[in-house]
Symmetry: C2
């Protein structure tokens, strides 16, 4: 039998129904804290519980496209937002994770600089940026696990990629970059050493030859401004100070 004959006789409905969704763990930094985007579910199952934004993948839709669309619907951020980074996190498919049917969720992580307050989505769900350490202990489905995995991804990607530049504006100071690391890692870093280290990694940042308009709010000189460089990997990497303890 050739492919054409085979396809003509193939009946997709003969198999038990499954569904594929995308869920997005969107991170941003607000008021010096790492925030995650959550929505309150407006319909069953788990009506009223907080959950990750997400939804079913359209029939002709690519996975990254679906993730960008769902995120845009929740945040009002244009799909082609310039400084948005979106990457696949993993797929969650435990048989009983959704009571409706067998649902596989392809999770994405998104990183963005301080975004506006989310608009209520088209399906009228309440949406909000929630500081990570104030997030509900229990989220719908297995979303707590997905958020934890997304955080771990963010923490480790800061080490060996220029991901931190996605959390700040087009132009930024080294101190702002350091604040990103300190916020996501939850540790304070030595300002002087961090400064020298960042500048020593080829392609991490490049100078704009400009400075901030004013010094720090509580004093200090004007800081030089940088923009993201062309490196895709940091070499040498910036390792978390607490890495050694998590090795075993």
């Amino acid at each position: 039998m050739n492919d054409a004959d085979f396809l003509a006789s193939y009946d997709p409905h003969a198999y038990p129904p499954v569904a594929v969704t995308v869920d997005i763990v969107a991170f941003t930094i607000r008021n010096g804290a790492l925030n995650v985007l959550l929505v309150r579910r407006a319909c069953p199952p788990s009506e009223g519980m907080w959950a990750l934004p997400g939804g079913f993948v359209g029939q002709w839709e690519d996975l990254p496209t679906a993730a960008a669309r769902e995120l845009a619907e929740e945040t009002g951020v244009a799909t082609a937002h310039r400084r948005l980074h979106l990457e696949q996190l993993g797929t969650y498919g435990t048989p009983d994770r959704d009571p409706r049917m067998r649902v596989f969720s392809v999770a994405y992580v998104a990183f963005a600089p301080d975004l506006p307050d989310p608009v209520s989505g088209s399906d009228a769900r309440e949406a909000a940026w929630v500081p990570m350490d104030e997030r509900p202990a229990e989220l719908a489905f297995d979303h707590s696990t997905i958020v934890a995995d997304g955080l771990e991804r963010a923490r480790s990607k800061l080490e060996y990629t220029p991901l931190a530049t996605k959390f700040v504006g087009e132009e930024f100071t080294i101190a702002e970059l350091r604040a990103v690391y300190e916020t996501v890692w939850g540790e304070s870093l030595h300002a002087g050493n961090f400064h020298r280290k960042v500048l020593s990694v080829p392609g991490f940042v490049e100078s704009t030859n400009t400075t901030t308009e004013r010094g720090g709010a509580r004093g200090g000189p004007r800081a030089k401004l940088y923009r993201a460089g062309d490196a895709r990997l940091l070499h040498p990497a910036l390792l978390m100070p607490s890495r050694e303890e998590t090795v075993r």
Copy 2:
């Protein structure tokens, strides 16, 4: 409406049919070369083409379970093979990647020490270990992309995890471990420096206080034997010599 009422009225068949498969990129080292497990498709679509082992996820089956089952069916390796490492690689869902219907494939990577020749699977497909540099230029579906992604995963995981110990037997010499790195990275490493480095990473290997029965085939003293240690991350990491060139 509460969850119970909602679920009673929910019809999964109302949505367009999609399917979820698992595909496995299984790596092993044979005759000093990195091999990948491929099967020749026995039925349409792409009948006769080489492809990754894999198949549809059972209705009550977990994703890792499905991956282990598919791999076992192709290789004859017991599902609970002691020294097999299996991890999720990513999900591939381009709308037209399978002509039958919308198919999402959750890819897994498997690493194992020299495995026996695969037995033909229950569905009578021909299966074989194929050296990576002799693999067909074109595989069925988007499997060439998946293999490339799997290789990249293997290469980078060698750097910062004890993955290499999954490619060797229960007890191994430092030279065997070095051969794994050289094979996967495709670069020769300095024997003396590698030796000292491996022993200096806490928890990477632990001594068995025994040596090989004989020296090397072409001379040399008996080598000490080691087994895998309890480290989950290598600190400091073993970086690929060519890392710097791939940074941009």
